[in-house]
Symmetry: C2
Subunit: 228 residues, 2 copies
């Protein structure tokens, strides 16, 4: 593996999804470095922070062009800017959040979205007792109005935090309104048309994938993989 | 690819982590089938529900022995029982939950854990104003007492929902007390000793991995991958 980053035109065509999913972790780590006042970093130092090898980082970045200089490392601010551009974060993404139960309310209040290109643009629920109440300074709207709001604001991203048995119906309506990417907290697999992205967050499944190892007292090199 | 499942002794030694992470999704889908009164399922039908190919399901299960019968399919109840056994879910796992902010409180109240082998056994926070208050019928305890509770109850699993800058310190203390697997909601990579498992849930990173595609209007075959 060469130290320098070489650009492979073929590979630039389509980086694998696993690489795309690592880019936000690189960006996050670079943000922390900036907060610590660190302006330059080697792939080794960056890798140590996120349990990825230096070779992996160089290979991942090589899909997108040439970054850093051999023996000098990366300019943290510049690399962060470049990764944010790659991820489409040079502008803000409005997000519809559907299902304002305990979890939805916590998501609505989560400060981690702010300053990272994500803006919760509308809160929706179907419970008449919730509609019209506020989460901080945002009103909860009727899910019947989601279609209008999504179209008016050009919203293409949504977060679903409704019970599993309602998730498919909610997803169908969001996609009809123009949503093209869904993060679902509902523990069920959604069926969506081609061209719509869905990713899932399911803490039960994550915990169960660790009880497997605990039940066997297995430890391994991959136990702290940032991708998972 | 043969329809029947053949047992490969070498492969039974160490199924890859990606297979372990799919098992909880199979179990979840089988639970839904049972709720719908469906007692028998083919790998094709099961695969269609979770966007995994039938071949993938058969290959994944082959790591653990022989399941189902050619041309008959799987006995749903039996396969669920077998997968739960593989995942170590034949007994209940007590879990320590640290950080009872908006998110931690929502996790504490999440009904999805119950009846799935996960029991939130202790809520911990460092904020004196929260300590002693209740989430439903559970008191919030001081994080200073976590060590004692973890040792007394033999807790080996923990969920961390504290701010990123406190997560490493919390993880260190949990591991010292005996925790061997951590699900962290804090957006930072934790450094833990060998033999300790860490997995992460970071909605910002997940959203950013989809804005990449939205910014390019890319759609692909992998856009609804249940693993992610």
């Amino acid at each position: 593996m060469a130290i320098g980053v070489e650009v492979d035109v073929d590979r630039m065509e389509a980086p694998p999804d696993v690489v795309i999913r690592r880019l936000p972790l690189y960006a996050r780590s670079l943000r922390y470095l900036l907060q610590e006042g660190i302006e330059s970093v080697s792939s080794q130092e960056l890798g140590d922070r996120i349990n990825v090898t230096a070779a992996q980082i160089r290979k991942d970045l090589s899909y997108f062009g040439e970054f850093g200089k051999q023996g000098i490392g990366y300019d943290v601010r510049k690399l962060l800017q470049q990764i944010e551009d790659i991820l489409g974060l040079s502008h803000e993404w409005p997000v519809a959040l559907v299902g304002i139960g305990h979890l939805g309310a916590a998501i609505a209040r989560y400060e981690g979205f702010r300053q990272q290109g994500i803006r919760i643009a509308g809160l929706f629920d179907s419970n008449p007792e919730k509609i019209g109440t506020m989460i901080d300074d945002m009103p909860i709207l009727s899910f019947d109005d989601a279609d209008t709001v999504i179209k008016e604001q050009g919203i293409r991203l949504a977060i679903i935090a409704v019970p599993a048995q309602r998730a498919q119906e909610v997803a169908d309506r969001l996609v009809m309104a123009g949503v093209r990417a869904i993060l679902s907290y509902a523990p069920t697999v959604l069926q969506v048309p081609d061209g719509v992205w869905v990713r899932y967050i399911d803490p039960v499944a994550v915990l169960h994938s660790m009880t497997y190892y605990l039940a066997r007292d297995v430890s391994g090199a991959r136990q702290n993989d940032p991708e998972t």
